[in-house]
Amino acid sequence: MMQDSEARLRELLSTVEPPASRMTATSLVLRGARTRRRRRQWLVTGAAGLATLGLGSGVGMAGLIGGPTRTGPGLAQQPGASTTPAAPDCIAQRLALPPGATEGEVNSGSPNGRYLAGLVVAKDNPGKPVRWDGTRVEPIPVAGIGEAQGVNDSGVVVGEAQTTDRRHFAWAYAGGKVVELPIPDGYTGAEATAINAAGHVAGVLFDGDRAAAVVWRGTTATARVDVLDAPGGAMAFGISDSGIVVGGLHDGSAAYRWDAKGRGSKLAGPAETAGGDAQGVRGDWAYGLLPKDGKPGPSDMTTDTPGVQSIDWNVAVVWNLRTGMAGAVAGGRVEAVSSTGQAVVNHPDGTASIRAVDGTLRALPTLTAKGTAYAQALSDDGTRAGGSSAGDPVRWSCAPRR
């Protein structure tokens, strides 16, 4: 009986195919050779390398290989979407890495565009949180392995980390000091996911498979902890300056929001979506990713790569919390929104764009000709974005929209 079960599971596991990937053996060799070169460069140049990579007055301004600005369909509530292309007008700048780091990634940015936060990877550590002020990098001295998840206009950073004994904790970094945020009784772990202008921090508490959305009312070790009510538990991923928190129910059945008084309600998605999460909020705008309702059928198959078929069964969604409208964003995943409703969109072909409310897309260039771009931060005025390009942390600067 057991052997039958094992054989059946082998058969079933063999039916699962990941979607097509652009990764090839050759690209891995190129990447490996580059990493080796960079290691040698660090060894030889030491601190001088920092100046070359990071502080350099334009030395790091690489690439500018943006394709033509593209247009995409507008939100469902914006039928009059503009389709007028504009000239490429964003530049990519490689951000500095601390000594010893081989790659890095931006997770979040401050609304004023000054600060970016994320992680860097080194030979002896797969994840160390960092903050960038402009292009200058500052390692955050958190114990263990971790990453920064949010930063506000004052440069206060929040994130999560895991110690060698597998303890997960939420932390805040301000004034050069790391503070572990308190975990209330009944929970064993925590992570901080976002911070607003007032220093209130959204996050998640854990106890085994149980999860609860939480807001820390401050960034001290004695900050008040408000556990947010939600049926079956929830996770919080964003907090606005007015105190609105967004996230999703723990069982994945609905995106969720809480008002400033902690009253929760489901966030309705566009037609033909079900469940999912809201992953961030800024001003009146929130964004998330919702699965399509039902099961995939033959018409959902795509054939981007000959011989390989795949399905993207998720829909990127932007909500206007003031009007209650939800719009599907075609052609990629949204990873950040501005207070004016602009969004960064990451396309399946490895490119990224800033998307205006009317659907107009501005291409974010990659650092190298064959590189990819993935954006995860956007300033309120839409002129600064952050993310990564082929393993390097990147800041994009764009001309103001006319």
Binding site: V16, L28, P126, E191, A211, K295, I311
Partner: protein
């Protein structure tokens, strides 16, 4: 690394890449994250290829690195890991197995991370109980109990899909629910 060593590495990766991507995808349930894990693991292999190329069981060695990378992925935090599973872009091979594949992924997403890792290593990577315990840094007893509970859970979660024994060709005529 010499040109010859580069060529050997490309040869090895070309043959192993598809399978490694499948393992990572089964473990983490997210295509982007799976590629990150594979890329990170194979980068480490490249940087140490001079030594690794001489070991007897390269596949076993690389699988160990891959699983360590997956475990290191927990640095992303439990929320991200849970989220990654719910965000899974449903994907499948062309043809009639789409429905089964979707059900298998959905079921894998519902069992515990420990059970999932044990089932994938034992029944997709064909590792022994002892090998699985070594890679996961746990005991043989734990692997056995996780295997037993994981199989039972998958059977319950898959319901009729578990018991379906039609061949791929006959599955094509099944009515889509």
């Amino acid at each position: 690394m010499s040109a010859e060593e580069d060529r050997e590495y490309v040869e090895y990766v070309s043959a192993a890449l598809d399978r490694l991507r499948r393992v990572a995808f089964l473990l983490c349930g997210d295509a982007h994250r799976a590629d990150d894990i594979v890329q990170s693991a194979l980068l480490a292999v490249y940087l140490h290829w001079k030594k690794i190329r001489t070991v007897g069981n390269i596949d076993g060695y690389v699988h160990r690195i891959l699983v360590r990378r997956y475990i290191d992925e927990t640095r992303k935090g439990w929320a991200r890991v849970l989220l990654a599973w719910r965000d899974t872009g449903i994907a499948a091979a062309a043809g009639p197995s789409v429905e089964d594949s979707h059900a298998v992924q959905a079921a894998l997403a519902k069992i515990s991370r420990g059970q999932r890792a044990v089932l994938v290593l034992r029944f997709f990577c064909d590792m022994s109980v002892q090998e699985t315990a070594t890679v996961l840094g746990t005991s043989v007893g734990t692997v056995k109990s996780q295997t037993s509970r994981g199989l039972a859970a998958m059977r319950d979660l898959l319901g009729e899909d578990w018991y379906a024994t039609e061949s791929a060709t006959t599955r094509g005529t099944r009515k889509v629910r």
